[in-house]
Symmetry: D2
Subunit: 134 residues, 4 copies
Amino acid sequence: MKTHDARFRVRYAETDQMGVVYYANYLVWMEVGRVEYCRSLGFNYRDMEKEDGIGLAVAEANCRYLFPARYDEEIVVKTGVSEAGPRMIQFSYQIENAANGKTLASGFTKHVFVGPDMRPCKLPPKYRARFGIK
Amino acid sequence: MKTHDARFRVRYAETDQMGVVYYANYLVWMEVGRVEYCRSLGFNYRDMEKEDGIGLAVAEANCRYLFPARYDEEIVVKTGVSEAGPRMIQFSYQIENAANGKTLASGFTKHVFVGPDMRPCKLPPKYRARFGIK
Amino acid sequence: MKTHDARFRVRYAETDQMGVVYYANYLVWMEVGRVEYCRSLGFNYRDMEKEDGIGLAVAEANCRYLFPARYDEEIVVKTGVSEAGPRMIQFSYQIENAANGKTLASGFTKHVFVGPDMRPCKLPPKYRARFGIK
Amino acid sequence: MKTHDARFRVRYAETDQMGVVYYANYLVWMEVGRVEYCRSLGFNYRDMEKEDGIGLAVAEANCRYLFPARYDEEIVVKTGVSEAGPRMIQFSYQIENAANGKTLASGFTKHVFVGPDMRPCKLPPKYRARFGIK
C-alpha cells in the first residue's frame, strides 16, 4: 500500500485537561493526512469538491489509541488507501511521534462519494485511476 | 439592554492542559448565546440564512478573561445587542459561572450582514424591528 | 442495557463547509453522553478524576454515520455501558435527531481506567457497583 | 517590532457551513503563531510550562476580520511582541493568505504570567531578556 506522510505539531488547543491530545482530534489529523495524500496523487480535494461537486461523505471512522500524543510533539500521519471502488473508498492511517517513530494510534475512515445533493454517486472516471479504481 | 441567558455545561473537549477552558472556546460560547438570543426574539438564525440567504459575517471579536472556566461547570452566557443599524450589529456578552454568579469573561462581537455572495448588504426590513433597527 | 439521554443543539462551530456536522464532533458528543450517563448513575466524572485521580483513557473509538446532522437541530445522545470489567469499560451510543427520532449515527468507545500517572489501573471498588462491575 | 512567520494550511475541520473558516479558529492560529514566535527566540513554551511551571494566562483577545480564509489555503501568521513587562506580555498578529499576501485578519492577545497555582506571578529573569523585558 502506497502511503504518504503529513507532518505537523500538536497545538495547545488540541490538548485537554488530562494533559494529552483530546481523542476526537485524531480524526481531524486523519483528515489532514487524507488531504495531503490526495495532493500527493496530483489532485486537490478542494477542486474536486468545487469543480465537480463531488464530496467524500464519511460512513465510518475508527481509531485505536496506543500512546497519548502531547503538546508540541511533531506528529506524522501515514495515510494510504486500503480499499476502493467506484462508490466508496477506505483510507487507513498510522499516527506516529515523528521524533521516535512510536505509533500513537491507527485507524481507518470509510467514505462514500456524494454529489452536490449529498446523495451517493459514482466517482467520475477521471478521478478513478488516481485511486487505482477500475 | 434586553439580555437573554443561554446555559450549558463545560465539555471535556473544551479544556486544555492548563486544566481550564481553552480561550478560543469562549467565542464558540458567544455564538451559542447569539443564536439563543435570536431565538428568544422569535426568529431563527438558521432560517434567516437558509430562506433569505442573509448571514452575519464577523467583523470583530473581543473577549476579556477574568476567571478561568473549568470542566463540568454550568455556564450562563448573557447576550444582548449593544448597537445595531441596517448594515451592522454588535452583540455584547457576559459569561458567568451559573453556580455562583461570578463573571468569568465579557466581550463583544461586531457583524456585518452579508448576502449569499458574502458581500455586505442591508438587513431585510422584516428582520429589523426584531433587533430594534429602524 | 440501561441508557441515558443527553440533549443539546448543534452549534454553528460544529458544521463544516459541506453544510453538515464535521465528523470528529460526533466523538465530542459521545463524551457529552458519557458524562451525563455517569451523572445519571449518581456520580460525577470530574470528581472521580479530581478526588481519586482516576481517568478514563480512550483505547478505541468507532462511529458509523448514517444521516448528516445539521446546524441548530436538537440532538439526543443515548448512552449505555455495553461491557465493563475492573480494568476497562465500553460505552455504546446512539445519536438521534430529537425532532423525528431518526438515528444519525451509532458507535462505541472503549476505555481503560488509568491512575494519575496515566498508567492502567483497576477501578476502585466504590465505583464498580455503579457500572455493574463485580 | 521583530516578527516571526508561522505557516500552515486551512483544515476542513476549521471551516463552517458559510464555506469559510469559523471565527474562533483565528484564535487557535494566534496560539500557533505565538508558540512558533517563542521557538524562534530560542526557547520552548512547553518547557517553560513544564520545567518552571510558568504559564501564559490569556487576559484579553481581539481579532478584526477583513477577508474570509477558505479551506486548503496556505496561511501565514506574523507574530510579534507589542508590549511586555515582568507581569504581562502582549502579542500582535497579522494573518495573511500566503499565496497573495492579502491580510485576512489582525489582532492581539494580552497575557499575564501565572504560576502552577494559576495565580499571577513575575516572569523569571532568565526568560525576560528573550522578550526584551528589563
